[in-house]
């Protein structure tokens, strides 16, 4: 059944695009609070809530991290970065909990008319990750999961189109359809 709220939600989800250039206009505190709240209302495994959020506004700090990570310099121009970090919580689900919180925050940001980018350019580069974790002053049991750049976009990007996003080849009914050579693993 199509509901107004459902349609609106899908519109927001499809409107989320990765932005790499931002206006200088500051992000209002109330918007930031909504975004952080959205992160903290995301589900976590066993309700462990392993995440913390470090707000970065200092231009020099952002630039230093951006250059350590070889990020596109315009990303450092986002007025706010949110570093999502998480304490190790027994079974390694901190990355999943952080990712769910991150996505919740991006949806909230989109709903508030803000642009965003989900950054984790240190995959496969442990030295860069360590350097950034040091800059953030993280204790040994706390890991950097991702950085979200948030700000009013320099340029409006068109929303994703529903018919392009939905790929029926990825949807299977009751069982994975196999190519004949592709046997199950069990």
């Amino acid at each position: 059944m199509r509901t107004r709220k459902g349609t609106q939600m899908l519109r927001t989800i499809l409107a989320r695009r990765t932005h790499t250039a931002f206006q200088d206009t500051p992000v209002p505190e109330s918007a930031l609070n909504h975004i952080l709240t959205a992160g903290m209302l995301a589900p976590t495994r066993f309700h462990q809530r392993p995440w913390h959020f470090i707000i970065l506004r200092d231009a020099e700090v952002k630039q230093e991290i951006a250059s350590a990570l070889r990020l596109k310099p315009s990303l450092a121009g986002a007025p706010i970065w949110i570093a999502v970090v998480a304490e190790e919580d027994g079974p390694a689900a901190w990355d999943l909990d952080a990712a769910a919180a991150a996505q919740s925050m991006l949806i909230a940001a989109t709903a508030l008319g803000l642009g965003s980018a989900w950054l984790m350019p240190w995959l496969g580069n442990p030295d860069a990750l360590e350097r950034v974790e040091q800059l953030l002053g993280l204790p040994a049991n706390v890991h950097l999961a991702m950085i979200l750049a948030v700000g009013f976009p320099a340029e409006e990007l068109p929303a994703h189109r529903e018919e392009e996003v939905y790929e029926s080849s990825r949807v299977h009914l009751e069982q994975v359809r196999h190519a004949p050579s592709n046997a199950p693993a069990c």
Partner: protein
């Protein structure tokens, strides 16, 4: 688009669903939301299996020892990852699940995330692998049970203690002093 904020607050983990089926159109919208999630380098490591067979749901629920009531949800969606497609498949799939939960909530449906990813070769994984015919190189990341809710749970109220202890400024340990304005006076129950 502001109502997304409301939906985020309304999303709750549900256990009880009515037996009313979910339409294919609704499932397509849930999966559109999933596939609109960001993924590292746009690699989209996800695949989905829509499960309606009551026997299959029951068997998998038993094997994973999840709450039996969850098997009564009319639809389970299995979230699978092609691990070779992206080193960030765990996070990418997490974002896809999150989108699905929010989309379901907005549509007045209940959706519950059943995490399975860290239980390789447990009875549940083996049962699911055989039943869903999961190929070599793919991981069963999670199930999402979807149905019309048979219980109402009030929207989330964020614990102000959590809000005030989890936000830092510029550096770890430099706690932000501002309390959550919109939830501050609501008490601390989740």
């Amino acid at each position: 688009m502001y109502s997304a904020i409301e939906v985020i607050q309304q999303r709750r983990t549900l256990r009880r669903f009515t037996t009313a089926d979910i339409s294919d159109d609704d499932i397509q919208r849930l999966l559109t939301a999933a596939m609109a999630a960001p993924s590292l380098m746009g690699r989209k490591p996800w695949h989905f299996v829509v499960i309606r067979d009551a026997e299959v749901k029951k068997r998998i629920a038993e094997a994973f020892r999840v709450h039996p009531q969850l098997a009564e949800a009319p639809v389970w969606i299995a979230f699978l990852a092609d691990v070779s497609a992206s080193p960030a498949w765990r996070m990418d799939l997490s974002a896809a699940v999150m989108n699905t939960l929010l989309q379901a909530t907005a549509m007045g449906l209940g959706a519950t995330w059943i995490g399975t990813v860290d239980s390789k070769w447990t009875p549940g994984q083996v049962e699911a692998c055989r039943t869903l015919y999961i190929p070599e190189g793919w991981e069963l990341f999670a199930f999402v049970a979807v149905g019309k809710p048979a219980e109402q749970r009030p929207p989330h109220v964020l614990d102000p203690y959590v809000f005030s202890t989890r936000v830092h400024e510029e550096k770890w340990g430099n706690r932000r002093q501002v309390p959550s304005p919109q939830y501050h006076s609501e008490g601390g129950k989740q």
